[in-house]
């Protein structure tokens, strides 16, 4: 979509009104599709991508109020701006439209200048909103973006059981010292793309990226059946992907990347933390600390993946686990059982 052209859906039971509005928006340079009642409109909205809805109120089958209600309750459709175009009588009906989430109201017969201004402003709003959503997705995932939308950006926490995974490239600082800044960022981008894919394909989300390290959550914000198993599988996939990346790097005579993983399972407090302008979905608690300590411990333990007792208990096939000598981690009162893979 260019700045000024949009895909509009015109919903009106009256043929003259449909023709008139289609012509009106087409003269403004937009594309127009038409639906003759709310039911058909909802089907079209679910099947295609529209930037703006021009909605009549009085319609058979499903009227404009019902359409507004249905849009509001549909996470995929609720962001489409709606301009109510109606000659419905009574201010209370117009108020009701606005309360149900309509962005604007234009009385019929529709004034051309008013239509132009309102359509333009709504399309601009939609464009900004889409841009925001794209940004949100770049830093979070579809699930978190959805959760954010559903909870309406509530910055609050809840206690849940989840698996936390930390991973980090060994000695990345010294590797990057011999690389150009461009090559360093390119390598990080490749690495992150592979890691994101491995995490999300196992139902996890990447909640934090710092330099060459990342933190992923399994079981939050959406619960998953076996978060420990998913986290371990994701770690394995990430190892495989790193191995593939290393094969390519070997051909280019570039140094091998070594990655370590720490996984812990247990109670965490998860939620959006930050300010109104900038918040991130994250979690805190002993489980998070433990996962970070386990990841650090891979440097000395000789296993690329280390995990705690609770993660081990969740595994469907614990045969491949090797217990290593219990470790006294900083911040934990007693020695903990640790497993490697």
């Amino acid at each position: 979509m260019s700045d000024s052209n949009g895909n509009l859906l015109i919903v009106d039971d009256n043929k003259v009104n449909r023709l008139l509005l289609s012509r009106g928006v087409e003269l403004l340079g937009h594309r127009a599709a038409v639906a003759e009642n709310g039911k058909i409109a909802m089907e079209m909205l679910r099947a295609g991508a529209y930037d703006l809805l021009l909605l009549d109120i009085e319609m058979p089958e499903m009227d404009g109020f019902e359409v507004l209600e249905a849009l509001k309750n549909d996470a995929d459709l609720r962001d489409i701006p709606v301009i109510v175009t109606s000659s419905v009588e009574g201010l209370d009906n117009i108020v009701r439209c606005i309360e149900l989430g309509a962005d604007d109201y234009i009385p019929k017969p529709v004034n051309k200048v008013l239509l132009k201004a309102r359509v333009h402003s709504c399309l601009e709003k939609k464009r900004l909103h889409d841009e925001q959503k794209r940004l949100l997705r770049r830093f979070t995932t579809v699930e978190v973006a959805r959760d954010l939308q559903d909870s309406g950006f509530a910055i609050g926490g809840r206690r849940i059981t989840a698996s936390v995974l930390f991973c980090d490239i060994r000695d990345f600082t010294s590797i990057s010292e011999n690389m150009t800044p461009e090559a360093t960022i390119e390598l990080l981008n490749t690495y992150y793309t592979l890691m994101f894919e491995a995490v999300t394909s196992h139902g996890g989300i990447v909640s934090l990226m710092v330099g060459d390290g990342l933190m992923a959550l399994f079981g939050a914000p959406q619960p998953i059946e076996n978060s420990a198993q998913s986290a371990i599988l994701a770690a394995h996939e990430m190892l495989n992907m790193t191995a593939m990346l290393n094969e390519e790097r070997a051909v280019m005579e570039e140094p091998e990347l070594k990655v370590g993983f720490g996984i812990a399972t247990g109670k965490v407090v998860a939620g959006y933390a930050g300010t109104d302008d900038r918040a991130t979905y994250t979690c805190v608690g002993k489980t998070v600390n433990l996962a970070a300590r386990l990841e650090a411990h891979t440097k000395v333990a000789g296993h690329p993946i280390l995990f705690d007792q609770e993660t081990m208990e969740g595994l469907l096939d614990p045969d491949g686990c090797t217990p290593i000598p219990p470790v006294q981690f900083k911040g934990f009162s007693e020695k903990l059982q640790v497993f490697g893979m």
């Binding site: 039971d13 009256n14 003259v16 009104n17 003269l27 009085e58």
Partner: protein, 111 residues
């Protein structure tokens, strides 16, 4: 009657804004569609369907406004707001006004 049946400036404006061919096509669409709307109105009145009656009157009002058929719009509006009538007295009056409006609109198209 002191009030004209059609305000010709409305159609002139429509023609200016949308093109005269399109305006003519739109009037023709209305003239084809209006008998259906009047039939809906009669059917709703006969069946005591208040929603259908209001909706049909609303559609007629909306289209009449589009073409400057001021008398027709006023009658349809009062029917929309008035709800189901005790007798079907308003409908024949509306039909007569529609017939006169249609003639006037046809006249405008021929100009």
């Amino acid at each position: 009657m002191t009030e004209p049946i059609i305000d010709p400036s409305v159609c002139a404006e429509l023609s200016d804004a949308m093109g005269s061919d399109f305006a003519a096509e739109l009037i023709e669409t209305f003239l084809n569609d209006a008998p259906n709307m009047i039939a809906d109105l009669k059917k709703a009145a006969a069946e005591g369907d208040a929603d259908g009656y209001r909706r049909a009157a609303h559609s007629i009002k909306s289209n009449a406004d589009t073409f400057g058929a001021v008398q027709l719009a006023a009658m349809a509006r009062s029917m929309e707001l008035g709800g189901l009538p005790d007798a079907d007295a308003p409908i024949p009056a509306l039909e007569a006004t529609y017939a006169a409006s249609a003639e006037a609109l046809k006249g405008l198209m021929d100009e």
